[in-house]
């Protein structure tokens, strides 16, 4: 049986609002899957359904081919969007409690809490009440809470929000390690540069539907490539008449072009050289952010 988490045609309505409509995607073991989408697209709703925190109106979540039930959920590491820990309970005690609730023995829980608080840099706060920690450190404890029971699956809702750059690096490394041990990792984020760097595959959610999913390269296949030409002596309009070429802007001798189907880059290079020296001639692949804007549309940009 394929070790993969399948989200199969989930639908959910809240009164008049359709939060999810037949959303479908799969995350294989060892894969990091990034869920992106505008505010209110339905990412959180989808994750909460995976964790059984809310029930779907229709559809099913499966792990290794069987529908996810409470005993499977106990083996998921979950970080909810709205962070939640007992404010007046000590860090270590709280993490041990959560690990035990997930089925760990007390001694295993203790060892695991030691290891994770160490790794996430909150070891010296183990005996403090959670409420005394800074927001970022509470966030680290929250991540520890998702990891202490050595989960088989990770579902993290915006795990990077509120973290400092060092913590972002630690978090990224942890996710890679976890994926390296065969854990499927799903996380949502609005930091698309991070998603691009970290994820094996990305899914873009819009109005409760998965409009496209694949590797970042797959997503790029839809978008057109850009070419940057730096020819200081070129006059404006030098590339206007070349076939398949659209000029976006031209300033300081730097021209940004997109290439259509019938464009020939060698022809462009020759035309550029004809104007004088060429210092730069580079293809530039669109970033995920640009792809996102293109796919979701300018009116629904990520805030």
């Amino acid at each position: 049986m394929a070790r993969q988490l399948e989200i199969d045609r989930l639908s959910k309505r809240f009164g008049e609002i359709t939060a999810l409509e037949d959303i479908t995607f799969q995350v294989s073991a060892g894969e990091i899957f990034g869920l992106v989408g505008s505010n209110g697209a339905g990412k959180t709703t989808a994750m909460r359904i995976v964790l059984g925190v809310i029930a779907a109106d229709a559809g099913e979540v499966r792990w290794e081919g069987t529908p996810v039930r409470l005993d499977t959920r106990r083996r998921i590491g979950y970080m909810p969007e709205e962070r939640g820990l007992y404010p007046r309970m000590r860090v270590a005690e709280q993490l041990e409690y959560l690990a035990c609730l997930h089925g760990m023995t007390a001694s295993a829980a203790h060892a695991s809490v030691d290891a994770w608080t160490e790794r996430l840099g909150v070891a010296d706060r183990r005996d403090d009440d959670v409420i005394k920690l800074s927001l970022g450190n509470q966030q680290r404890v929250q991540l520890a809470a998702a990891l202490v029971h050595d989960p088989e699956i990770l579902v993290l809702d915006e795990p990077f929000s509120g973290l400092d750059p060092v913590a972002v690096d630690v978090m990224s490394a942890v996710l890679r390690d976890k994926a390296g041990t065969g854990v499927p990792v799903v996380f949502s984020s609005h930091q698309l540069d991070l998603v691009e760097r970290l994820c094996d595959r990305v899914g873009i959610v819009r109005h409760g539907r998965m409009i496209t999913a694949g590797t970042v390269d797959d997503l790029r296949a839809g978008g057109r490539e850009e070419l940057i030409v730096h020819a200081p002596q070129a006059a404006p309009g030098w590339a206007d008449r070349l076939p398949g070429v659209t000029v976006h802007d031209h300033s300081d001798g730097r021209t940004r072009l997109t290439l259509g189907e019938d464009a020939d880059d060698q022809l462009i290079l020759r035309a550029a050289l004809a104007t004088g020296p060429v210092h730069e001639f580079a293809r530039r692949r669109p970033s995920l952010t640009e792809l996102f804007r293109h796919i979701v549309g300018p009116r629904e940009e990520i805030s």
């Binding site: 925190v53 409470l70 909810p80 939640g84 609730l101």
Partner: protein
Amino acid sequence: MSAETSNDRAIMLIARREISTRLRSKAFRVATLISILILVGIALVSKISSGGPSYQDVGVTPAAASTTDRLTAVARALHIDLRVHDVGEAAGRARVRDGELDGLLVGDDPAAIDVVVQTGLDDDLRSVLQLVAQRAALDRQVSALGGDPATVSAAVAGARVRVTPLERPTETDGQQLALGIITSVLIYMSLLINGQAVAQGVVEEKTSRVVEILLATVRPRQLLIGKVLGLGTVGLIQMAAIALCGIVAGTATGALHMHASATAGTVVWLIIWFLLGYTAYSLAFAGVASLVSRQEDVAAVVTPVLMLLIVGYVIGVSILPSTPDSGFVAALSLIPIFAPTLMPVRLALGVVPAWQAVVSLGGIVVAIPLLLWLSARIYQNAVLHSGARVRLRDAWRTG
């Protein structure tokens, strides 16, 4: 791991967390301390108001020994508990000074009694001594007139007042009344304090949003049961501690004479009714509390449940002490809502026929699973709704 054992384990873990958190909480310690103070206060007040059925300890020196028999006879006739101690004069005076003896008889003339006291003579004891002296004077006059003092005494002793009650008297003595009042206060405070703790615990989990990660691993029902169980365990320990302090205070002040079997019976019933009452009320508290997300909304939402508790208590303390066999209260105490606050008090007063005890127990034993079902359903549907207060109707319908 079977589903059943993991279910129990989750509930035990949740209960254990509740216990350790609660034992550490300042609010809990303060509430316990205040309860103990209130109860000790009641013991002191009831001692003062009832005058107490405590013994009068009277020392009798060898010189006054001839009065001993008459002293005990008169005290018995007046229904005054009197203990006579034979002591030497010096030792006797010392014991009076220490407050161990209420009076020391020193003179040898039975018709002119000399009594040494610490500060003043107790009224009861004064009456007894007065009568003893008067009898001695009377005997002397009878002898002087040539009569037989023994015949006169017998005749006097035979003189009685016959009382014919038109209604059956209530068979409650002061002891049981004290026990009843203590029971009433104790059960009311325990249900109040611990029921509120459950309500606050439910809302705290909503406020802090921790409920979301909890419900990703345990069922809402497990969370509810674990919480009720854990806080109930602490509540039981707390009530036992308070009751113990109350009994010790009552005994020490003399407000309470330990009639071992009656007291033990009361305590057993108290524990049984605390457990049943707490279970029922805490489930109700948890259900309504799950509708709100902020601590400041708790008070408003639990008020209806609280009112039921208060009504039962107020009816109990205002009617039962004067009318322990009130039919109205008896009827109320059979209804599961009021049984926890009224039945243990009536049991302490010793006015409950066996069938009533059984009916009220049966009622609440049936009510608890019903409440669990009801409350769990509301809790389950409402506990993840943060923000505005969830309407009861919506919590009932969804899901």
